[in-house]
């Protein structure tokens, strides 16, 4: 029962999937039925339900407002795996450079992470954020799509307990350092 709880908590707190780039969709399709992978898919409905939360803190309200504009989240991950780096390379090779722009690369201990964005149309300046992470013994690819506010993504990552997204806060820090 304990593991059920932990699983449910992780998924509910981290929260179907819709309008992603083809490449990432194909990657998910290839591995989503492979039970050695963990996966989470969250629909826009889930995000809209989260916005029903009663929030008093103005900073939290900003995060909730950013969450309300998200349309979906998909995560595919593999822990305790020796092929983390192989999967990392495979995922990167599948991302078409004409559609995705590299935003940031991070090396954190034994893990490499790359963040990519796909431009949107209309009000959505960024339509999709993709994070690919590969290490000596784990791998994760995450696609977050909708109307994305990069300034809030790090905070959303903290709220949803998605490891890695906190690195995006560094983008904001770098901007501040320049001023």
């Amino acid at each position: 029962m304990k593991t059920l709880m932990v699983g449910a908590v992780m998924m509910v707190m981290s929260i179907g999937a819709f309008a992603q780039g083809d490449a990432i969709t194909k990657f998910f399709a290839k591995y989503q039925d492979d039970e050695t992978f963990s996966q989470v898919t969250i629909s826009s409905k889930m995000f809209s339900l989260l916005t029903d939360m009663q929030i008093d803190d103005p900073e939290d309200k900003e995060v909730i407002d950013a969450i309300s504009k998200l349309k979906g989240l998909r995560i595919l991950a593999k822990d305790d795996s020796r092929d983390g780096r192989v999967l990392y390379k495979e995922a990167l090779a599948l991302l078409p450079t004409k559609d995705y722009e590299e935003l940031m690369s991070v090396r954190d201990d034994d893990k490499d992470m790359k963040f990519f964005i796909r431009s949107g149309t209309g009000t959505a300046k960024i339509a999709e954020l993709v994070m690919v992470m590969g290490g000596n013994d784990d791998f994760m690819v995450m696609s977050l799509f909708g109307e994305i506010d990069l300034k809030q993504i790090g905070k959303i990552g903290s709220k949803m307990d998605i490891h890695g997204l906190d690195h995006l806060n560094k983008l904001d820090d770098k901007k501040k350092d320049k001023h």
């Binding site: 304990k2 709880m5 699983g7 449910a8 179907g16 996966q39 629909s43 409905k45 889930m46 339900l49």
Partner: protein
């Protein structure tokens, strides 16, 4: 503690089982297993620490039904799990808001709305050993769902008592 739990069990046993989804009803009828009811009052009773956050979490919940089925004993196949998910979405108008798999355990979350408000929530979890279904009449604040699982987990002796009663 045990006494309180027994009171809770008795209170729950005398409540009617109406207004639950038909799919959950049929699942319970078809398979032997643990079946628990938590009503608003019984949920409040379980909140022995008078945790305000817990009270907030349950304020929009009318009733929770919790089922636990031993998949091997009941020959509950992956195809049965797939059909169960389809029954909730196609026969009961639930909408899937989340699905996932973690450490070999599948989890699916569905909601049903009426008039723009969530009227029902289903949280299903299944691994090779067991199937768990939380059928919630009303709405649970999703960001607080972890507290609900914690509550059920901490009160697992309720489930054990019932399971024992079933065996006896």
């Amino acid at each position: 503690m045990k006494r309180l739990l027994l009171i809770v069990l008795m209170a729950a046993a005398f409540q009617s089982a109406q207004a639950q989804t038909k799919t959950t009803e049929l699942l319970d009828e078809k398979h032997e297993g643990t079946s628990l009811y938590f009503y608003k009052n019984t949920l409040r009773m379980l909140n022995q620490k008078e945790d305000k956050e817990f009270d907030d979490m349950i304020k929009d919940i009318e009733k929770i039904r919790f089922l636990m089925i031993d998949r091997k004993e009941e020959s509950f196949s992956n195809a049965d799990y797939k059909k169960l998910k389809e029954d909730y979405t196609k026969k009961e108008s639930f909408e899937e808001i989340m699905n996932g798999r973690l450490e070999g355990r599948n989890i699916n979350v569905y909601v049903r709305e009426a008039g723009g408000k969530v009227k029902g929530t289903i949280i299903m979890a299944s691994d090779s050993s067991n199937l768990y279904v939380l059928d919630i009449l009303g709405k649970i604040a999703l960001e607080k769902a972890s507290a609900l699982f914690k509550m059920i987990d901490e009160n697992a002796d309720v489930a054990n008592l019932i399971r024992k009663a079933h065996i006896d």
